[in-house]
Symmetry: C2
Subunit: 299 residues, 2 copies
């Protein structure tokens, strides 16, 4: 029985960083999120791929126990081409070929509609809203987004945020969306829209959790070798909701643990290109690094 529904993109990515280049490798927000979630839970995917989608990519997803019944096949697979410069902080886009995404209408299979944990990974907020409307009263909704939707579909995005329990975004997006440099103010604005919690992802600087009266700061993991940060935010979100679905505890204290698991999986993800690290990651690697996170913040 699946316990996390994930809507987002499945892509073929071409990525260049100062440490190398890969072409048309498996990527997309829903892919990274479902790989990360699969360490803790049984994710079901709603997305679209093209008829060119490589068979071994599909096999890889299935091998992680990801249910792909909600993945449509149409046209060509979404293709993103981007690069990172020296500081590795921000992906720069060279090319975006929407392909199958252009006319995508997400349809939630009947057997997914009762799933209680829903992750609206980064994709057009209209698709996020459409999936939410198809679900039967989900218990817990996490929403992620990116600057593109803040620029181009702000109204729909705000509507989607109003329907989420947790808003996930990075620091730059938080400052942009709420027109303030101050992350505390941005978070208070976000909480005012409806979510019970806001999580701000800060890359190497860790992550912040804001709820009504509490604040949590998760440290960043000191990575000496970052090869490719693509998908780190999506992996973070996937592990976060996967851990919560596994433990079925939605208290603030458990959010904190879920955020650290998110940070652990995301930090592993950055250590190699595409999904290379996550596809070989073991639960023991995750638990080992979780204990390192405990030591890093102890005083």
């Amino acid at each position: 029985m699946n316990d996390v529904l994930i809507i987002g993109t499945v892509a073929l990515d071409t990525i260049e960083t100062p440490f190398g280049k890969v072409e048309k490798v498996l990527g997309g927000s829903a892919t990274y999120a479902s790989f990360a979630a699969s360490f803790f839970a049984k994710p079901a995917l709603v997305s679209v791929i093209g008829r060119d989608f490589p068979k071994d990519c599909m096999e890889l997803m299935k091998s992680r126990g990801i249910d792909v019944e909600g993945v449509k096949i149409d046209d060509k697979t979404f293709h993103w081409e981007g690069f990172y410069e020296y500081d590795m902080n921000e992906a720069k886009t060279r090319k975006t070929e929407l392909n199958a995404l252009e006319h995508f209408k997400p349809e939630v299979p009947e057997k997914y509609k009762g799933i209680k944990y829903v992750f609206l990974a980064n994709i057009d907020p209209e698709h996020q809203l459409s999936v939410l409307r198809q679900m039967n009263n989900p218990e817990f909704v996490v929403l992620d987004t990116m600057n593109f939707w803040i620029d181009n579909k702000k109204e729909e995005l705000i509507e989607a945020i109003k329907n989420a329990d947790v808003l996930l975004l990075n620091d730059g997006e938080a400052r942009q969306l709420f027109s303030t440099a101050n992350l505390v103010k941005a978070s208070n604005e976000a909480l005012g829209l409806g979510p019970k919690a806001v999580i701000i992802k800060k890359g190497e600087h860790g992550a912040l959790l804001f709820t009504k009266n509490k604040h949590f700061s998760a440290p960043g993991y000191p990575l000496e070798n970052i090869k490719d940060p693509t998908g780190c935010g999506d992996s973070f979100g996937g592990a976060f909701i996967g851990y919560l679905a596994k433990t079925k505890d939605l208290n603030e204290q458990n959010f904190r643990r879920a955020i650290v698991y998110g940070s652990v999986v995301a930090s592993h993800n950055a250590e190699d290109f595409g999904l290379n690290r996550l596809k070989n990651l073991a639960m023991s690697d995750i638990e080992k690094r979780y204990r390192e996170f405990q030591d890093i913040r102890e005083f």
Copy 2:
């Protein structure tokens, strides 16, 4: 008996931020550092002021128990004029009048020479080295600096770093000094020069401690209202060494606590212009926020 020697600048600052402006208020790296240190220890100052230095500023320093016998009087007081933009992350300089600093030759009074804890606050690295040479075998030396010295006196700065036990710098400076975007690599380079520990100050993102085999990450404090970040780095350093001088424990675990005390005092400092917050701060405010830091990072 004084237990921390601090060399650095005493200045009159004119500061503009999006939240207001102050003119010719008491400032300088040694001033902020000694105010912060004075909550934990008895600082002795080596610096220079001008004949224009306001009497009430001098009284204020003395009222904090700061020993000013090592402060020379010559010419006019060093004057810095700067501003902060919207994001408050970086001070931009409008004007620097070196005045008395131009021909300053630091002289350590005889009665200070046996002090065991030395803070080389931000000032010309030649002055930092000169003070070190005058001291009788100090037990523990912390060195702070800024981008100006990396640009203009790199060789002297490296020499000073080789003589320090702890190097303190902000993330931008660490990346610049060691020509790498990666803070783990930068810290390893710094440790290779001699210091036993490197502390990287990251403003709102907290602070990192790197020693040979250990890593600590202190959270940032979620400040909703930052009025003026001037002197936060200096306050951090002053509280750090002050706490160590008070507790006389130079183990890594105690460094962690000292870093949190540094973060606590620096976060208070940003809440008002100049020294307005620190001059009214009580030890109970510090202890209260220290406990908040414990809660912020707990998972």
